[in-house]
Symmetry: C2
Subunit: 372 residues, 2 copies
């Protein structure tokens, strides 16, 4: 049994129970439109990353705005989105284990399903699972273009793996996955530009090696909210995977932008209530480690100058109140912009959509906890 | 719909799907017994903190071993445990908001329910909620004994609040809550001893001030896994609230222990699978920010010398492999000891209990996500 939703459509915003994950629908929709418009006409496909939101309603809003499908990270997430009617899902990850491969092949009978490989052993396993299920899996070679996490080296190693995939029954080689995760939060436009320039060279070399082996490489996919304009304008990438742009968290907000770069708005908040002001110069809110992710720093206290989120324990957040700030009172509500949206969303069962002072929608975070 | 459990009772440990939260039942039961035996005969009550496990089966195992009830942090957690048959629940937190107060009073008709206050305004609110429900709420004054989070200052301020509680209809003043959270992870026995000695003085002064006001102060409650022996032996505390001792996470494992201090065992693990070894000198596992909490540091790779968990992204964990280590292969399984057990447990829907090589139990983390 999931916890009860913190609000119902039609409720006043003031009546939302806390802590709650709240989306400002106006800002959210402007973010969706800004990205769609920026990709439309470029010739590239937009395949937003759904690991950020885990929410079928948001995936559908993206598909309605020209997205060709979505990305996710786990088979269990892909199952949720296929069940919700998304017809094209790329699992941007290696999948290991007989049970998971069976499940992946099973959904490939109902939707277009892609997956990554960076090891020849995976090719045989995926091929066996696909043929056993009577399905076809789209497969991309993951190339390490700078993140040094997963992925084969660029060039010949990518081509060797692509050749194995192209020959394997039940698999359809689609191209390469060239995501530079480590570049997304480089703080200056120049650093991000340089990092993606190197990734583009690696991606181009990999595609050239694959084509030299006599195989097609239709798709070069990657990019995130920090760098997508560089991949869009690269002449090499064919597909973009930004995720966080729908919400814009505090950490992405710390990236400096060049004048021609698009500015997304904070649309995601954790709404909290002040539950204690007993200790001088601080207010304690009802959201801590179990309502917010702290891997990318603490949340920002939105629209409240002089309030500084200092530390968290499981269910407490300690907000420092400077001498010049308006001191919150017990029962006051503070709006927090999460440091990192993806793992914060995963802590909640519901996303409350508000417009002005009214709750318009309550969406299930249907893929929350879909780890496997 | 919660995600499917990663195993069924009777399965081989080798068949558990990953990532999964796994408890070594032998070590877990030894931890339970060690704490019960150490408190038994002391004259103190044991009221373990259920925010660590959020699991009714574990709460029942604690009550079977002499616990008088449990603690939790949120009304929604208390509802889960009362529904599961726990008869005595202390919410070790301030509760603010009419809806939450109504729910708190409602469960007080079915079980003994305690709650904290550190503000006179709360007394009137709690009293109104209790009398409206025809219920009695146990109330404790939260005293700041060093953590500087919530709580009134020791001594007279505590007595003033106690007097207000004692006079309020529907409320039963039980005593004081004197938990020193910041002392739990001081690394040396001497530091923890000193911090709790100061807390004991503050608690004693508060109790004395309350008694001087002509009111009883039956309960002095507090303590955690890092310091409980000091509170037990203080002559002032009457009740102990340790939580993490059942699991023992990596961060508590970094506390140095005096020769007479009890050694709990790591019983909680996140079982993971290696999904990529494509990048030199590392293995990438299928557990990252959404399967492990990182607020108290990365997990330990258990029983695998030379493997060092370096960094995580949403669904990837990068494990460095030193030159002398046995290099994991794709598909190998690694056992991780979480840095901080409480928020790690909250990321999972199921706890898989194993004994030797067999899955014995699969328990729901029934209060996962119970934020409100």
């Amino acid at each position: 049994m999931p916890p009860s939703p913190p609000a119902q459509p039609g409720d006043a915003v003031a009546a939302i129970d806390t802590p709650a994950l709240v989306v400002d629908l106006d800002a959210f929709e402007r973010n969706l439109d800004l990205m769609s418009n920026a990709v439309r006409g470029s010739g590239l496909a937009l395949r937003p990353h759904a690991k950020s939101h885990k929410c079928p309603e948001i995936a559908r809003a993206q598909v309605e705005r020209d997205a060709i499908g979505i990305c996710c990270q786990k088979v269990a997430e892909a199952e949720v989105f296929v069940d919700a009617g998304i017809r094209d899902v790329l699992v941007t990850n290696e999948v290991v284990g007989a049970g998971k491969l069976r499940r992946l092949a099973a959904i490939a009978r109902r939707a277009t399903i892609g997956v990554l490989v960076d090891d020849a052993g995976s090719v045989a396993e995926l091929s066996a699972a696909a043929t056993a299920a009577g399905a076809t899996l789209d497969v991309l070679v993951e190339v390490d273009v700078g993140a040094h996490r997963c992925g084969v080296p660029p060039g010949e190693p990518a081509a060797r793996l692509a050749t194995a995939i192209a020959r394997a029954p039940g698999l359809r080689l689609r191209g390469i996955h060239a995501y530079h995760g480590a570049a997304q939060h480089l703080r200056t436009p120049a650093e991000r530009c340089d990092a993606i320039a190197a990734a583009v060279r690696d991606a181009a070399a990999s595609r050239a090696a694959i084509e030299a082996a006599g195989i097609g490489c239709a798709v070069v996919t990657g990019a995130g909210t920090g760098t997508w304009q560089h991949e869009r304008d690269s002449g090499v990438y064919t597909e973009l995977q930004p995720g966080s742009y729908v919400f814009m968290d505090a950490d992405y907000g710390r990236n400096a932008l060049a004048p021609d770069q698009h500015h997304f708005e904070h649309s995601l908040f954790v709404l909290t209530t002040v539950m204690s002001v007993a200790v001088r110069s601080q207010a304690v809110v009802d959201a801590g480690l179990k309502a917010l992710a702290f891997d990318s720093g603490p949340p920002l206290v939105y629209g409240a100058p002089g309030l500084d989120f200092r530390r968290a324990s499981d269910e407490h957040g300690v907000v420092a109140v400077t001498d010049t700030a308006i001191a919150p009172r017990r029962g006051d509500r503070l709006w927090l912009v999460p440091g990192h949206c993806d793992p914060t969303v995963n802590l909640h069962d519901w996303i409350v959509g508000v417009r002005g002072e009214t709750v318009e929608s309550v969406w299930a975070v249907a893929a929350r906890g879909a780890l496997a």
